[in-house]
C-alpha cells in the first residue's frame, strides 16, 4: 500500500515536471539563442554556452526597434486609457441601473468582443484613410478599441456587480448623484479591478498583429509584433535568428514580470471575463 502511494506520488510529480518544462522550455531556449552568435547558432545547445550581448546591442542599437517599442507603448497606453475611461461609466450603468434591454446590450457587447477582426478590416481601412491617419499610431488606437472596449466593459461590469448594494444606497440617501457615486464612492473600491483589466487590455493591444500590419507602411511606424515579424537579414534567405530572439526576449520579459506579479488578479480577471487574453 505504502509503495503504491509512493509510485503514485512519483507519477504525479513527473507529470508536474513535464507540464512545467513544456511551458517554460521554449522561452528558455529563446533566451539561450539570444546570447549566441555566429556559428554557435548552427549547433544545437541545450545549455547556455556564452553570454554574448551582441544580438541585444544590434537590436537596441538599430534605429527602428527602439522606435517600435515606443510606438507600441504609446498605442497600448492610449488604447487602454481611452477604453477604461469609457468603460467605467458604461459598466456602472450596466451593472447598477435597471433598464429595459440591458441583457440584450450586454450580449451585444460580448458578441462584439468575439468579432473576427478581419470582418471589419475593409471598413476600418476606408475609415482610417478617410480620417487621414493611415500609417500613424492613431490608426491602431482607433482600431484596437474594437477589442479592448468590449473586454473592459464586460470585465468591469462583472466586478462592479459584486460591490455591496449598501454602499450605493447610503450614498443615494446622502443625495449623491450617479456621477458622484462613480467617482467618489466606487472608483476608490475599483482600483484593483481597474489595474487588472487595464493590464489585460494592455497585453491585448501590445500583442495585436493584423491591424498593425495593415495600417502601417513605413518601418518607423511599426509596432513591436510587426517589427519582429519583419526583421530580416542581409539577404532574404538568411533569417537573423539571434537578433529575432533578442528582440523577442526584450518585449516578453516585462510582460512576464507583470503577469507573475499580478497573477492572482489576472486569473480572476480572465475567468470573470471569460474572454481570451
Amino acid at each position: 500500500m505504502q509503495q503504491h502511494k509512493l509510485l503514485k506520488n512519483i507519477a504525479f510529480y513527473a507529470l508536474v515536471i513535464v507540464i512545467v518544462v513544456f511551458a517554460v522550455f521554449p522561452f528558455y531556449y529563446a533566451i539561450v539563442t539570444s546570447f549566441s552568435t555566429g556559428s554557435q547558432l548552427f549547433q544545437v545547445n541545450y545549455w547556455p554556452k556564452a553570454f554574448n550581448w551582441a544580438n541585444y546591442e544590434a537590436v537596441l542599437g538599430g534605429r527602428n526597434f527602439p522606435r517600435s517599442i515606443m510606438n507600441s507603448l504609446f498605442i497600448a497606453g492610449c488604447t487602454v486609457g481611452f477604453s477604461l475611461f469609457l468603460a467605467v461609466t458604461a459598466s456602472y450603468a450596466l451593472a447598477r441601473v435597471r433598464f429595459r434591454g440591458r441583457g440584450l446590450l450586454l450580449m451585444t457587447i460580448l458578441a462584439v468582443s468575439m468579432f473576427p477582426q478581419i470582418a471589419v478590416l475593409a471598413g476600418l481601412f476606408e475609415l482610417v484613410r478617410f480620417l487621414g491617419i493611415f500609417n500613424t499610431p492613431w490608426a491602431m488606437i482607433l482600431s484596437y478599441t474594437i477589442f479592448t472596449l468590449p473586454f473592459t466593459v464586460w470585465v468591469l461590469t462583472t466586478f462592479m456587480r459584486d460591490l455591496p448594494v449598501e454602499i450605493e444606497e447610503a450614498a443615494i440617501v446622502d443625495g449623491a448623484s450617479p456621477w458622484v457615486i462613480i467617482t467618489q464612492v466606487f472608483l476608490p473600491l475599483l482600483w484593483p479591478a481597474l489595474v487588472t483589466t487595464g493590464l489585460l487590455a494592455f497585453i491585448g493591444a501590445w500583442n495585436e498583429f493584423l491591424f498593425a500590419l495593415t495600417f502601417t507602411s513605413s518601418e518607423s511606424q511599426r509596432t513591436v509584433p510587426v517589427a519582429i515579424a519583419m526583421l530580416s537579414g542581409a539577404s532574404a534567405q538568411e533569417i537573423p535568428w539571434g537578433p529575432i530572439m533578442a528582440a523577442s526576449v526584450i518585449v516578453t520579459v516585462p510582460l512576464i514580470v507583470l503577469v507573475l506579479i499580478f497573477q492572482r488578479k489576472i486569473v480572476a480577471g480572465l475567468t470573470a471575463g471569460g474572454v481570451k487574453g
Binding site: 457587447i109 475593409a122 476606408e126
Partner: protein, 319 residues
C-alpha cells in the same frame, strides 16, 4: 423638509433619474463601438458587393453578389461560374480553418483538463506550476511563432535534434515548410500557447465543485477515474462548454500565427489569411471583403448558437 417633498413630487423619480444618467453613461461607449465595429462591418459588407480596389475605394460600382457567385452564359453556350463560392482556394482555406479549429480546441481541452486537474490537487509547488503555465499565455503570439519557428527549423532546430537523438525520426523534418507537416506545426504552437487559458477556465470550474464530494467518494472507496467521469465532469460541464466555445470562436478567426509561422503555405492558409491577402496584397479589395463577410457570417452563426445555448442553461430548463 417641505422643499424635499416638493422636489420629490415635482421632479422625476429616483429610478427615472438613474435611468437618464445611465443613458448618458452608456452613450459615449456605444458611439465608440458604433464607429469601430458596426460601421466598418457594414462598410465591409457593402464593399463585398462592389468592384472596389485598393486604389479605387470611392468610385466603386455596385455589382451585387458577383464577388460571391456569378453565373455567366458564354456565347458558345457554356455556363461559367465565378466568385468566392466556386473558388477552390477559398474552400481550401475553409477546410484548413475548420480542420485547425476543431483539432486545436480538441487537444487544448484534453491538455487543459489534465493541467487543471493537476493544479486543483494540493501539493508543494502548486504556485510554481501556475506561474509556469502563465508564461506561454503572456508571450505575444508573434513572438511564440518566431520562437517555435526557430525550434522547428529544419536544419538547426532543437526539435529535430531531440527527435533524432531519441531515434523517433531518421531524418530532419522541414516542419514549417513542408505541406505535410505545416498544419501540425501550427497546431503544436497554438496548443502550447492556448492550453493555459483553457486550463485556467476549467480550473475555475473545478474549484466550484465542493471538496466533500471527493471526500465522500474516497471513503466509499470509489475509483478516482469513475469519480472523474461520473461526478467531476458533469459538474464542470457548463464551465467547460463556455471555454470550448470561446476557444472555438477564437480559433476560427486565427491569423497571426499562421501568417508568421508558415507564410504562403496553402496547407495552412486560413479564411482570415486568404481574405487579407486578397484585400491588401492582391488588390482584390472587394473580393477579400466578400470572403471576410462569409467568415463573419460563419462566426455569427456560432455566436448566436452560443447565446441560445447560454439562455437555455440560464433558465435551468432542458438539458
Amino acid at each position: 423638509m417641505t422643499d424635499q417633498v416638493m422636489a420629490q413630487a415635482s421632479g422625476p423619480s429616483l429610478q427615472q433619474r438613474r435611468q437618464r444618467a445611465a443613458f448618458w453613461f452608456l452613450a459615449p461607449m456605444l458611439v465608440a463601438l458604433f464607429f469601430v465595429a458596426a460601421w466598418p462591418l457594414l462598410r465591409t459588407i457593402w464593399f463585398s458587393m462592389t468592384d472596389a480596389t485598393l486604389s479605387n475605394l470611392y468610385d466603386a460600382e455596385w455589382i451585387g453578389f458577383g464577388n460571391y457567385l456569378q453565373v455567366r452564359e458564354l456565347s458558345s453556350g457554356r455556363t461559367v461560374y465565378r466568385g468566392t463560392l466556386v473558388d477552390p482556394d477559398w474552400w481550401n482555406a475553409v477546410w484548413n480553418t475548420v480542420r485547425f479549429s476543431f483539432a486545436s480546441v480538441f487537444f487544448e481541452t484534453i491538455f487543459g483538463l489534465i493541467v487543471a486537474l493537476v493544479m486543483n490537487a494540493e501539493f508543494k509547488g502548486r504556485s510554481i506550476v501556475r506561474a509556469a503555465i502563465l508564461i506561454p499565455w503572456a508571450i505575444p503570439t508573434i513572438v511564440s511563432a518566431k520562437m517555435w519557428g526557430w525550434m522547428l527549423n529544419d536544419q538547426f532546430g532543437i526539435i529535430n535534434d531531440i527527435l533524432l537523438n531519441l531515434g523517433l525520426i531518421d531524418q530532419k523534418i522541414a516542419w514549417t515548410a513542408s505541406p505535410e507537416t505545416a498544419m501540425t506545426a501550427v497546431l503544436i504552437v497554438d496548443v502550447w500557447k492556448t492550453t493555459p487559458f483553457m486550463a485556467l477556465l476549467i480550473l475555475a470550474g473545478l474549484q466550484m465543485v465542493p471538496r466533500d464530494i471527493y471526500e465522500a467518494a474516497r471513503i466509499d472507496g470509489i475509483n478516482p477515474v469513475k469519480v472523474f467521469f461520473k461526478v467531476t465532469l458533469p459538474l464542470i460541464k457548463p464551465a467547460l462548454m463556455v471555454a470550448v466555445i470561446f476557444r472555438l470562436l477564437d480559433a476560427l478567426r486565427i491569423f497571426d500565427l499562421v501568417y508568421v509561422l508558415t507564410p504562403n503555405s496553402s496547407a495552412t492558409k486560413t479564411m482570415s489569411v486568404i481574405s487579407r491577402e486578397n484585400m491588401i496584397d492582391f488588390d482584390k479589395f472587394a473580393y477579400g471583403a466578400a470572403q471576410s463577410t462569409l467568415l463573419f457570417a460563419i462566426i455569427a452563426v456560432f455566436v448566436s448558437l452560443y447565446i441560445w445555448i447560454g439562455r437555455v442553461d440560464l433558465s435551468g430548463g432542458r438539458d
